[in-house]
């Protein structure tokens, strides 16, 4: 099951919808998907999924 935070950097403007759309189509659904425009014109997309279970040892939320 997907948990925690995932980030994609350097997303071209033309692929922004695809990237955010595929994050949103996930099961379980992310609690949020945000995009931020960078200085070079590309975007950084961040998807936050439900918190990882406590016993997961490597889960930077």
């Amino acid at each position: 099951m997907v948990c925690g935070t995932f980030t994609v950097k350097g997303v071209p403007k033309g692929k922004l919808d695809e990237t955010t759309g595929l994050f949103k189509a996930n099961d379980p659904k992310p609690t949020s998907v945000t995009s931020k425009k960078e200085d070079d014109g590309s975007y950084t997309v961040t998807a936050v999924f439900p918190k990882c279970p406590d016993e997961t040892e490597h889960s930077p939320d």
């Binding site: 925690g4 997303v11 759309g21 595929l22 930077p60």
Partner: protein
């Protein structure tokens, strides 16, 4: 009344004894031990008795000591092998015997109870039958004798094989480098390697390592840079033509991920990351998806 209860109560006991006597060997699933218990006991006395190592300490040359050492080690290993066989037989035999004898005994008690008159008799037989069913419940809950036993035995064999290989390698050393007391420490390790706690601990350790490595593999994918590899563009364009997610195709892709041998790992990674991660592992997954006719992604 008493005269009717006694013979009725004896019937299941007779069935029990008959099944027990005729069924043991086949229930264990092992061929008969070729050596008699007396011979095995003799070997135990020879190689583990109070004077077992006498010749080793009396040997006058290093070469003679090595020869005696090797002979003693092989002899001691043979006894250890016999003991392990006994343990394996007991583990396999116990589960089978309790289960089958229990089933037959319950059937015979219920059968006798059904045809025997008298409330007293019926009550006594029902109580006995209930006791057996209860005992079976306890046994069936015991994972040693049910589903986990083959895994535990396999792990025991693997542990023992590893220690055995180390002992064989050490036997090539001269006595000065591998004296009998050192070999005896290794023989203790061989005994422990065939124990249930050691086996369970090894299995648990293995599961933890695989869980940890899977989590590490997911962590590598948490911060990625968008990949424009041909496989990424092709899969991305199929899942989200013109930037709009295709619900039917994404559902098919999710089902495909679930059917993969590494599904547990893949289901921990979001689709967007699988599609756009430059990571070689994700490139392999994309290539697999593109090549799979079940998804039917156009070239």
């Amino acid at each position: 009344m008493d005269a009717r209860i006694v013979p009725a109560a004896m019937l299941p006991a007779i069935v029990f004894v008959t099944v027990g006597l005729s069924g043991c060997a086949s229930l264990e699933g092992y061929a008969r031990e070729p050596e008699s218990p007396g011979l095995i006991k003799g070997a135990r006395d020879t190689f583990f008795g109070p004077n077992a190592d006498h010749d080793y300490y009396e040997a006058s040359t290093a070469e003679a000591r090595k020869r005696v050492r090797d002979f003693l080690i092989f002899g001691k290993m043979k006894v250890i092998e016999n003991d392990f066989d006994d343990l394996e037989r007991a583990l396999n035999g116990t589960g089978n015997r309790v289960s089958l004898l229990g089933d037959l005994a319950v059937l015979s008690l219920n059968g006798v109870g059904a045809v025997t008159g008298g409330a007293h008799t019926k009550a006594a037989l029902a109580a006995a039958s209930g006791g057996i069913v209860g005992a079976q419940g306890a046994v069936s809950k015991d994972l040693y004798y049910q589903r986990t036993l083959p895994a535990i035995l396999t792990q025991m064999e693997a542990n023992r094989e590893r220690v055995r290989a180390e002992i064989y390698a050490s036997l090539k050393k001269p006595d000065a480098d591998y004296p009998l007391p050192a070999a005896e420490i290794d023989l203790r390790r061989l005994i422990r390697a065939g124990s249930i706690p050691a086996s369970i601990s090894q299995i648990t350790q293995g599961a933890n390592v695989s869980k940890e490595s899977s989590e590490r593999a997911v962590d590598v994918l948490r911060n990625i840079t968008f990949s424009s590899a041909a496989s990424a563009d092709q899969l991305g364009a199929w899942l989200a033509p013109d930037g709009t997610v295709d619900v039917v195709r994404t559902a098919a892709f999710k089902n495909w991920l679930k059917a993969q041998p590494d599904a547990a790992y893949l289901e921990s990674v979001p689709m967007a990351t699988i599609v756009r991660a430059p990571d070689p592992a994700m490139e392999t997954v994309r290539q697999r998806a593109l090549a799979d006719p079940a998804l039917g992604i156009p070239k």
